[in-house]
Amino acid sequence: MNDPETAFGLLATARYAPRLRLERSEVFAQHRWMAPGLKSLAKGQRAIANWDEDAVTMAVEAGRALLAAAPARGATELTLASTTLPFADRLNAGIVAAALGLAATAVVRDVASSARAALTELIACLRHPAPETTRIVVASERRSARPASAQELIFGDGAAAAGVGTGRALATFVTAHSVHADLVDHFRQAGEAYDYGWEERWVRDEGYLKIAAGAVLQCLADAGVAAADVAHFALPAALPKVNEAVARRVGIAAAALVPTAAATIGELGGAEPLALLDTALRAAAPGALILVAAFGSGCDVLLLKRSAVPCPGDVPDAGKPETSYLKYLSFTGQIALAWGMRAEMDNKPALTAAWRDHARTERFEGGTCSRCGTVQFPLSRLCVNPECKAQDTQQPVSFADRPARVLSHTSDFLAYTPAPPFQFGHIDFDGGGRVLMEFADTDRDELRVGLPLRMVYRIKDLDAARGFRRYFWKATPLRGAALLS
């Protein structure tokens, strides 16, 4: 505690946006015949999860970015917040924690049911300091919306994460305020695919301008802070200008509103509060007050004070424009295309085998031979090095964060995949290890021998017959800044 910057508070935040960015104009072009009113929303792009991404895999990516920025120390807790968790009964946060390599003793939990669930959790972490514990809150959302609904254009897929603990804190807790109110602006019964929402003007007037504005004012009063002193105000709202109206109502300057990524990524639902928090922290000057609110069955408000510690890590890049609306409908299961008989393969999981080899798939665990040093995958009883072949000498090693390169590759148009072509190849890892792997988020003509790669955690196969999905790591090209560093 000798470092003057050591404090209990927010240690890092991170955002993840899927690479594909669906052009809203392409969506509107298909709906214009019956829903010309969508034109006002048909600008910019929204992030869409690839077929092999869900709330779990996006949470893993946000979590990896967070841990790269601020490694977990001491005991660890992980909370996964989402209204679109893939499993109703299987600890989704446990899948994320395992992929992140968190200790088996980490306390993990799922929270759900509201767009403010993540902020509720973050407030609880900040309000009750546990100095020796690193607490991670990850929010991730992959919501479906009925074709031609406004939500289809407004929503975005993505994830965001925040880490709380003692260290070089980016921001410290000032105060927080929460209210609950069963004002049903929208709902989604368990098992239903789509939200059902009430009139937007009522939601604005009775919800945001009364419940949210009231909670913000109470929070400021509790802290003894004047609204004019709030430098950054983040309030997720799917409707345009609602946050402006709330700011005006409570007396916060319009210039303090944290800009959203609505134009390029979309509204992230349960992940939006943490995503806006990340944006605010990166923009805030030392000492600035940041107010983050989240509305949904009530309202949470969190007031933070920014420190001088610089924000680690990067923000999502511009992604890749996607112009096929039908591809989006197929990825989200809203249209059933003729995939042919090759798609009929039974992907029944052997849960016994999955558990036996769980470290292999969760953490991409291979082995390092303690006799000859050969790094290999999978971890095996006998060393793969033909000059060694030593027995039971391998120490576990994770390939998840190791750089790699393409040895050979193909784009296979015969194999079934929900996103043809099926791309795979032999991958050589720097420092040893070779794996035959699938590629993710790779363009058709992008593969070449020697291409630098990084690993991402994705859905490997879906078992539609039993409602199961299995995950594994895939290779994706290093691009942009990551390639240069």
Binding site: G340, M341, R342, M345, D346, N347, P349, A350, A353, A354, R356, D357, R360, T361, T374, Q376, F377, P378, S380, V384, N385, P386, L407, S408, H409, T410, S411, D412, F413, L414, A415, Y416, P421, F422, F424, G425, H426, D428, G432, G433, R434, V435, L436, M437, E438, L447, R448, V449, G450, K460, D461, R470, F472
Partner: protein, 401 residues
């Protein structure tokens, strides 16, 4: 000290069905068709066969498990019969089991038969299937063209050749095999094609196009084996064809998981080839082998195998292919019967089909595609994928050659 099987086993009869989309024939029909030809060729009675080896790979798509389907189809008189499976090298594995039993002195006359009924799946290409429940957790569900396409990308990078140059040589290989199959009435694909047909075809698994891929066929092939002494006693005047070498090499995971392999060759083919040459006393394969039937499941596979088997110097196969070395009229004809590419590829039968062509050429019975002088032929049969496979190499020739 083991002395190998050179000239210890004679082939006295062979049969092979027409390969193709045999919609009206079940596996029993195919087995009987091949067996009748072999029995007539050998000039023996079925009751003289003492044991049988039965090769079928994807039994779930056709006959089911065990050697029972063979015994039933041929009404074998409750003799010993063994089913073998080693992926696409299954046919050679059946031959190997039978040959070793004769060489060991366990039996006088035995049968090796391979069959595959692939066209009962409802779609083109090989059937999709599990790789085992633990492997399915992480291994890509790759197709055969996808797996073998890897060779092309790695070969081009290793030898610093432009992909269009490699593709042109690959196209020449396919054009050659179609031309050969046009002379073979039992072949599945008998149409002649051009280089432009190959280069302009739809992509299956980049860089492999439709014509870089072999046919998926129904068919059966078989061999009746005995000792050279019994063969001589059965046919005083006949040319005795013997097995000079029959070697198998199996990947142990090194190519797949250790960075020593370059991804551009078939490691097991080099091992099995070297062992077979040593067993058969061959020191200069390009000069001493008169024809070769290799596992041309894809054009690139044939290309790299030419180097692995010592027919081309490392990195030189493109030049040899384009110079016509492996054409029917070339110095070392490869796939004179059309190969997997055009004779077709009923998996369990393919290894025996390769031997059938060498056998026919040795006897001068290869019709329009008959080569001038054949003393020795090589077959190379590959099961699995480039990085993980079973590779079988046989050398078949005249007694004493």
């Amino acid at each position: 000290m083991a002395s190998g099987i050179r000239d210890k086993v004679a082939i006295i009869g062979m049969g092979c069905t027409r390969f193709g989309e045999r919609w009206d024939a079940g596996p029993e029909d195919l087995m009987l068709e091949a067996f009748n030809e072999a029995l007539a060729d050998a000039g023996i009675r079925g009751a003289q066969i003492e044991a049988a080896w039965f090769g079928v790979c994807l039994e779930e798509n056709n006959v089911g498990k065990t050697a029972g389907p063979l015994a039933q189809a041929l009404r074998l008189p409750r003799i010993a019969a063994t089913r073998v499976e080693n992926a696409c090298a299954t046919g050679t594995e059946a031959l190997r089991g039978a040959a070793y039993a004769v060489a060991a002195g366990a039996y006088d006359i035995v049968l090796a038969l391979g069959v595959e009924k692939l066209k009962d799946t409802g779609y083109g290409g090989l059937p999709v299937r599990t790789r085992g429940v633990a492997n399915d957790l992480w291994l890509p569900n790759s197709t055969a063209p996808g797996a073998f396409a890897q060779l092309a990308s790695a070969y081009a990078a290793k030898h610093r050749v432009a992909m269009p140059d490699l593709k042109r040589a690959m196209a020449h290989i396919s054009v050659k095999s179609h031309a050969n199959a046009a002379l073979n009435p039992k072949a599945h694909l008998r149409n002649k094609i051009t280089i432009d047909d190959v280069l302009g075809a739809m992509t299956i698994a980049a860089p492999l196009g439709l014509y870089d891929c072999s046919g998926v066929s129904d068919g059966a092939a078989c061999a009746i084996l005995t000792t050279p002494e019994i063969a001589r006693a059965l046919r005083r005047d006949a040319e005795i064809v013997t097995i000079k070498a029959l070697e198998v090499s199996v990947s142990n995971g090194e190519e797949a998981g250790f960075q020593g392999w370059d991804g551009a060759h078939i490691a097991t083919a080099r091992v099995a080839g070297a062992r077979a040459y040593a067993a058969a006393g061959i020191t200069d394969p390009r000069a001493q082998i008169d024809l070769a039937e290799v596992h041309d499941c894809f054009s690139i596979t044939e290309a790299v195998l030419m180097e692995d088997l010592g027919f081309s110097a490392p990195g030189r196969v493109i030049h040899d292919v384009l110079d016509g070395v492996f054409d029917l009229a070339g110095a070392l004809p490869v796939e004179p019967d059309g190969g997997l590419k055009c004779f077709g590829h009923p998996i369990g039968a393919s290894g025996l089909r390769m031997v059938y062509e060498v056998y026919q050429q040795l006897h001068g019975r290869a019709g329009e595609r008959q080569l001038r002088r054949v003393d020795r032929g090589l077959t190379q049969n590959l099961g699995g994928h480039p990085h993980q496979n079973v590779c079988a190499v046989s050398i078949i020739g005249r007694m004493g050659a």
